[in-house]
């Protein structure tokens, strides 16, 4: 199932659609990327190609470091990671049931709570991709 | 690069500077490959023809021919003179003259003509040395003596003399000089590891594809496949006596398909001989004044090594040192420093600068300042204590 998700056209198409919906839910969304947990970009909105690829790699490292900390403290796996900076946030979270992560950058106009809830919606949306079709 | 052509005669390159040696080597190799000559180049003085430089004193046997490389303006003349710049034609013609003379004289009774094939490899860097010298003859680097047998320093002579002191046997060694034993197809009988080590060293240096067997009384024999760089010996190393009363090395030319199908890495045997079997001092081909530097680390994961070995190796990788300096710097007995140099030279891991050497590139080492010799401060020292080594 985890084989080459980023090259599976069904998964890529579904990811694009999920990100478009995501954008329509939040005006302050800067850019967003769906990536595999080992750091390959599946689909992105906004951002230039080089940047989104780089963000995909970094987000996968972040996610794994988050997991490592959570595991060490016996907290289970890491659900999401928030990076807050003066001019915005980055939120990243797992897509339930898949070796996928969604990473999104919001400007500071958004409240953290709102940002988190739309990001979670997008992750759930992505999780609707058919397993059978994705495996094809 | 090894050509499988029968060589009729051997030519020894003695005391040439690196540029001349490289040129002669390249020309010989080409002539050999083209079938113009049937000569095998070795680095010892027991060959049919010796090529040497200037008027370096070379002691030759009656049946040996000595050729000299001289500058273009040298007034001397003769069939065995080579003038710089060395040319292909001149060398081929020299070989022809030498062949004619050797063919006309009957072979010496105590040894037959060598039946060996192959030519020496050009050492990496030699071609470059030639290019450099030719590109800028005026600014050519100061010629360096080749380390192996190049300048026969006084201590080398002494050691050779010691080796040739009367012994109940072996005739070949006594008569022909130790280096003769290096030739493929020969047998060397000695009373200690040091006695056969020159033969081993010479086989390794000339890279003639050789198979060898070492027989020791009351011990397993050792089979060596030099081209495959493997050896076989049951119970190695515990089964090998360090002070046998006899060691016999029998070397033959490797035939295609004759290599050992399996075995241990040869470096393990050479390491053993160098560090443990050669006794207390430097190997016969090394001089106390030689300054040595490592050209490649030994593969320590397959060698039985100590922390002192590692310490010395690190020092050798970073400086040009004599055995004495190495021992001082690393805080180990001279014997141990000599042992590692013996092993490294057998293993082909040393660059040696023989006297007259350029001014030392490192300041004289201060005793015991090497890695981990001072108890505090060094992470190396702390780690080995921590690891219980």
């Amino acid at each position: 199932m985890s084989d080459k998700l980023h090259k599976n056209p069904v998964v890529v198409e579904h990811a694009r659609a999920a990100l478009e919906t995501f954008r329509s839910h939040s005006k302050s969304l800067g850019y967003a990327t769906i990536l595999t947990t080992d750091g390959f970009e599946v689909a992105s909105i906004a951002g230039d190609a080089q940047q989104t690829r780089r963000v995909a790699s970094m987000a996968s490292s972040m996610q794994a470091l988050g997991d490592a900390v959570a595991r060490d403290l016996k907290m289970g796996t890491c659900d999401y990671i928030i990076i807050a900076a003066p001019s915005g946030y980055v939120i990243q979270l797992r897509v339930p049931g898949y070796d996928l992560v969604i990473a999104a950058h919001f400007d500071s106009a958004e409240t953290l709570g709102k940002a988190l809830s739309v990001a979670r919606l997008a992750a759930n949306d992505m999780a609707q991709v058919s397993v059978a079709a994705a495996a094809a | 690069m090894l050509a499988f052509v029968k060589a009729r005669y051997t030519v020894g390159l003695i005391g040439l500077d690196i540029v001349d040696r490289a040129k002669v080597n390249i020309i010989l190799e080409k002539a050999f490959a083209d079938g113009e000559a049937s000569w095998l180049a070795l680095y010892n003085d027991s060959c049919d023809l010796i090529i040497t430089s200037g008027n370096l004193p070379v002691e030759a046997m009656d049946e040996q021919i000595v050729a000299r490389i001289v500058d273009a303006d040298c007034p001397d003349d003769g069939p065995f003179l080579l003038r710089r710049p060395l040319s292909h034609e001149a060398i081929v013609s020299l070989l022809r003259n030498a062949e004619a003379q050797l063919d006309s004289s009957a072979p010496a009774p105590e040894y037959g003509r060598l039946k060996v094939t192959g030519v020496t490899e050009v050492q990496p860097g030699e071609e470059r040395a030639v290019e450099m010298a030719e590109a800028a003859p005026a600014a050519a680097p100061a010629p360096q003596m080749h380390p192996q047998f190049a300048a026969l320093g006084p201590s080398y002579q002494q050691q050779i003399a010691a080796q040739q002191a009367p012994r109940p046997y072996p005739p070949t060694q006594a008569q022909r000089g130790v280096a003769a034993s290096a030739n493929a197809g020969s047998e060397t009988v000695g009373e200690s590891w040091a006695d056969i080590s020159i033969a081993l060293y010479s086989i390794l240096q000339t890279r003639v594809p050789t198979m060898a067997r070492i027989n020791l009384p009351h011990a397993e024999s050792i089979l060596i496949d030099f081209p495959g760089r493997r050896f076989q010996c049951a119970g190695f190393p515990d089964s090998i006596p360090l002070q046998p009363h006899q060691v016999v090395l029998r070397a033959t030319l490797a035939q295609p398909g004759q290599g050992l199908p399996q075995g241990q890495p040869l470096e393990r045997l050479l390491w053993f001989i160098g560090t443990r079997a050669l006794g207390a001092g430097l190997a016969p081909w090394l001089c106390a004044e030689d300054r040595c530097r490592l050209v490649q680390w030994p593969n320590f994961t397959v060698l039985d090594h100590s922390i002192d070995h590692m310490r010395m190796t690190a020092a050798m990788g970073n400086g040009l040192l004599t055995a004495e300096e190495l021992s001082l710097l690393s805080g180990v007995p001279f014997q141990k420093a000599a042992g590692i140099l013996n092993a490294f030279s057998l293993m082909g891991l040393l660059h040696i600068e023989r006297q007259p050497a350029p001014a030392p590139r490192v300041p004289a080492p201060v005793a015991g300042t090497g890695v981990g010799t001072r108890s505090s401060g060094s992470l190396f020292g702390k780690l080995i204590r921590k690891m219980g080594l």
Binding site: K4, S61, D72 | R311, V371, K382, L383, M387, L389
Partner: protein, 188 residues
């Protein structure tokens, strides 16, 4: 307390994660993710951030062992960890498609560490694949580092003794270089 950061780098599958496990005194911290790139390396998981292990010496020194992700897309992690490092254990698997090319590439990438500290090269998986000889690797190293003498060994990353040999020779070489530089300074 002094810290000594040693990095483990090299291509995917070279044995970096395994090597740190062989050396570390603490349970290692690893950041493995499901591997979706089976073409490059046929293994279930791959390191995406770092591996971490430690050796503590008394109450003074800590040797920190960081394993880097092998893939170039994670080179930002290389940069981050390189800043603090004093030495590098560069592992290359003998069964890689182009192990000599990989070696040259990584040496170039980590040239700064060679300048500043030291590098040791370990050739792994030589037991399962007939690759280039140690001499070939040594030549590649000499070419890439303008003639520097860097220790190079065949190693099995699963073997603690082999990895100790790597680590010790790295540190011996670093300290030997430093000692020599110091002596030359004193002499000048």
């Amino acid at each position: 307390m002094a810290e000594h950061v040693i990095l483990f780098a090299g291509p995917m599958c070279a044995g970096k994660t395994t090597a740190i496990r062989s050396l570390s005194e603490i349970e290692t911290i690893s950041t493995e993710a499901a591997n979706t790139d089976r073409e490059t390396a046929d293994k279930d998981t791959t390191t995406v951030a770092l591996d971490y292990g430690e050796i503590t010496i008394g109450d003074e020194d800590k040797v920190r062992l960081y394993g880097l992700p092998g893939q170039r897309r994670f080179d930002f992690m290389w940069r981050i960890l390189m800043e603090r490092a004093v030495g590098l254990v560069l592992l290359v698997n003998n069964d890689a498609a182009d192990p000599l090319g990989q070696l040259a590439e990584f040496l170039e990438e980590f040239a700064e560490l060679h300048e500043r500290g030291g590098i040791v090269v370990g050739i792994t998986r030589a037991d399962i694949a007939e690759g280039p000889s140690l001499g070939d690797y040594a030549q590649t190293i000499a070419k890439s580092t303008s003639g520097a003498i860097i220790p190079v060994f065949t190693v099995d990353a699963r073997d603690g003794n082999h990895m100790q040999t790597c680590l010790l020779s790295l540190i011996a070489n670093i300290e030997s270089r430093a000692a020599l530089a110091y002596q030359q300074e004193q002499a000048a």
